[in-house]
């Protein structure tokens, strides 16, 4: 699949070359070539079933858990071949955090939700270390001031927007390099959405962020690059500003303008 020009001189953080995904022998992705750059937000847009979430889930091998799903092609994160059979998938997922559509905190305390990852990855020596990580992660997720007095409360008692920020805190607590977000605001009201979007903008200084969204306004607001997927192909990929003002491809234009044939 052709992409438009060299968009940046920096080295891609994620490099997808000819990624094909098949479910029960049926192709969901037809060979995706895509370079995703560090410290940027890359938005993947497209109609339902276009393959954008499937592609996102290739990056941290979430498709591995689906029966009869076969991934071929090459996906590199820096110098790591994600589909190398020798790779430790648990370690990979520590490098590549994920936030889902619906906030999914564990039925535990706020503190334990954030501490969960560092604990299983053995990232701390003692309680003080853990306290520091929990506080830092909650601060980065913009939630600390709201929960500092009730860290032992149940996470499920938080509002939807707070729960989603808690999930972001949980994802960044293991200090990943990449954050994948699969429609992170689709279950949230506009105010909670704005808070998450502002957070995404702050987080990109530390992480490479890939977000799948059905909201084109959201893609336009939060991302620096946008890829338009359709029927398992990437149709156009470029600077978000260009995609939303003068896309080169007619299919992209029709989709972002809300047109049908």
């Amino acid at each position: 699949m052709k992409r438009d020009g060299d968009m940046t001189l920096s080295t891609p953080k994620i490099k997808s070359s000819g990624i094909i995904v098949e479910y029960d022998g049926k192709r969901a992705l037809h060979g995706i070539d895509l370079d995703i750059y560090p410290n940027e937000v890359t938005a993947l847009i497209g109609p339902s079933g276009c393959g954008k979430s499937t592609f996102l889930r290739c990056i941290n091998r979430m498709n591995d858990v689906i029966d009869n799903c076969k991934v071929s092609g090459r996906l590199m994160i820096d110098d790591t071949d994600v589909y190398d059979p020798e790779i430790d998938v648990v370690e990979l997922r520590a490098r590549v955090g994920m936030v889902f559509q619906k906030p999914n905190p564990f039925p535990k305390s706020i503190y334990d939700n954030v501490a969960y990852g560092p604990r299983i990855h053995g990232l701390t020596e003692n309680k003080d270390d853990m306290d520091r990580i929990v506080k830092k992660s909650l601060k980065r997720a913009g939630l600390w001031d709201e929960v500092r007095e009730r860290l032992d409360d149940k996470a499920l008692g938080l509002s939807g927007g707070q729960q989603q920020r808690l999930c972001i805190a949980r994802a960044i607590a293991v200090n990943p390099e990449i954050l994948l977000m699969d429609e992170p605001c689709s279950a949230l009201d506009p105010i909670a959405t704005s808070i998450i979007e502002e957070l995404i903008n702050e987080l990109r200084e530390r992480f490479t962020i890939v977000i799948v969204t059905h909201s084109m306004q959201q893609a336009a607001r939060v991302s620096q690059k946008t890829g338009y997927f359709h029927l398992g192909n990437i149709i156009e990929y470029g600077e978000t500003n260009d995609i939303f003002t003068r896309p080169k491809n007619e299919q992209t234009e029709a989709y972002i303008s809300g047109r049908i044939g």
Partner: protein, 236 residues
């Protein structure tokens, strides 16, 4: 250009309304320009007051169009070509309103000119300039509806000839005034009349550039030579 309809049909209706408003403004600007210069050629001032009054219609249409554009941006969040279309509509409407102002100014000056018995030899040239500009305007309005960037480029080229003719007419009017003191009663006004027609040509060129932008998403190359040399002409 994207031919497909929007899923939200009301958006298509909004854009059609915008085009209709623009067409009305364009037609009125054309009529105003034609009538204001034709009165001079025919030495018939009877319609000039109407032209001066009708300018308000263009002002009102522009205000309505501005409201419609704001409504579309607020309610439809247009993107890509749709966004260019509404922004270009805003700019073109403002330009058509300005053309109306210039036509009104021509009408006012023609009232003064026709209030004297002094005649100029320049009427055929003024008529030619007006015809050239009206043809440009007509082509531009069609090109706007069709988003025809090729015709828009033709219009930009055509303005060069208007500029050249304006230079010649300017020189001739100066000569008329220097050879006959009586011409000073109408000459300065005629200079403004011709300059206004030339400015209208410039404004139409501006609209043509917007059509090019609407089609291509970028402005055309701005290396067009300046053919109006009247600002450098001195009395010899």
């Amino acid at each position: 250009m994207v031919e497909k309809k929007h899923i939200v049909t009301a958006f298509d209706e909004d854009l059609t309304t915008l085009n209709d408003m623009m067409a009305r403004m364009g037609a009125l600007a054309e009529t105003q320009l034609f009538a204001s210069t034709e009165a001079l050629i025919a030495r018939n001032p009877s319609g000039l007051d109407d032209i001066i009054k009708r300018d308000k219609e263009l002002d009102d249409l522009e205000a309505l169009l501005n409201e419609k554009v704001i409504e579309i941006i607020a309610l439809r969040a247009p993107r890509a070509e749709d966004l260019r279309r509404v922004i270009v509509a805003l700019k073109v409407a403002s330009t058509l309103e300005r053309i109306g102002d210039l036509a009104k100014n021509i009408a006012k000056r023609n009232k003064v000119i026709l209030g004297t018995t002094v005649k100029t030899q320049m009427l055929p040239s003024i008529r030619t300039m007006t015809s050239m500009v009206l043809k440009m305007l007509n082509k531009t309005l069609d090109a706007y509806v069709e988003v025809d960037a090729v015709t828009a480029l033709d219009v930009m080229e055509a303005d060069i000839e208007v500029d050249k003719l304006n230079t010649v007419v300017f020189q001739s009017l100066i000569e008329e005034m220097s050879s006959d003191q009586e011409q000073l009663k109408i000459g300065p006004h005629l200079l403004f009349v011709t300059k206004n027609i030339e400015r209208i040509g410039d404004h139409i060129t501006g609209i043509a550039e917007q059509i090019y932008f609407l089609h291509h998403g970028e402005m055309p190359d701005k290396t067009r030579p300046k053919a109006d040399q009247s600002s450098s002409i001195a009395l010899s």
